[in-house]
Symmetry: C2
Subunit: 141 residues, 2 copies
DNA sequence: CTGCCACTTCAAGTCAACTTGAGGTCAAGC
DNA sequence: GCTTGACCTCAAGTTGACTTGAAGTGGCAG
């Protein structure tokens, strides 16, 4: 039974964020002392998982969907695996983009558009131009 | 000399975004017919580079910083290389995070915090808990 | 018992990257 | 010459993840 400032200190997550996470249903307090929230130490683990998800670029909503119905620290393992696969794809994509950057940095073509390699990479990286930029970017670290 | 709607069609980037990019100094029109902007075809290449940068997770401001002072299509190659290296790190990080997700999905420990492996991975991935979450996330695809 | 102050709620602000809307302009087709 | 409608500008709205601020409350040290 720790209070919000302890939790903030121990987790590095600001109290305001902890309240916000509770409001969003990502963590829960186990009771109150007066009007002050009391948390179980398990939320520290939950916060690790949340940080993991955020770092992986998932939204709070998506992360919320990974926890089994409100209780405990259990996560939906299938969803986690799914997310890991999504990350595989993102990594692959970023790898192509990195290669495109490196190529762009060293390719001597006066106009990159004249470089087949550039056009190929850009296309392979799945950036539109001509196919429009779908894939609205989401946050990641 | 193409007008904004042609450019929008050819690039897949909405006209409103093109105006916004011009305002932000990421692209420029070469003149006006009446009050309508006229663009050079080179902006198509510039837009590819912008899309590339956005996909790599860089802000418009950062991307703006990659172009040599306003003119042409030239990019600052050093900055590009720098960004490629930043991407290398991000890829490495995401790889660890992906591994952490996969581990979390299959690790049978009742509480992940009791699993050394989990604690190690989370720590290695550079998510705070105890070291606080610095690295304010930025956008990427 | 009293007062402090960390906690509370709720509303509003912030930031990035756009989009939307209102109101205005003007090149071109008839 | 007039209408049309795509384009213009500028201000305001949107979304996600928070932060900040004002105003209120109540546990606990003295």
């Amino acid at each position: 039974m720790i209070d919000i400032s302890d939790l903030a200190k121990r987790s590095g997550v600001p109290a305001s964020t902890l309240r916000y996470y509770e409001e969003r249903g990502l963590i829960q307090s186990v009771g109150r002392r007066g009007l002050r929230r009391l948390f179980d130490e398990h939320v520290l683990e939950r916060l690790s998982l949340i940080a993991l998800g955020r770092a992986a670029g998932f939204s709070l909503e998506e992360i919320g969907g990974m926890f089994k119905q409100g209780q405990g620290v259990a996560v939906d393992r299938d969803k986690l695996t799914e997310k890991a696969e999504a990350l595989d794809q993102q990594i692959e994509r970023l790898t192509m983009i990195r290669d495109a950057l490196r190529h762009t940095a060293k390719c001597p073509a006066p106009s990159h558009m004249e470089c087949k390699n550039f056009r190929y990479i850009v296309r392979a990286a799945g950036l539109g131009l001509l196919p429009p930029l779908d894939q609205p970017p989401k946050r990641s670290a």
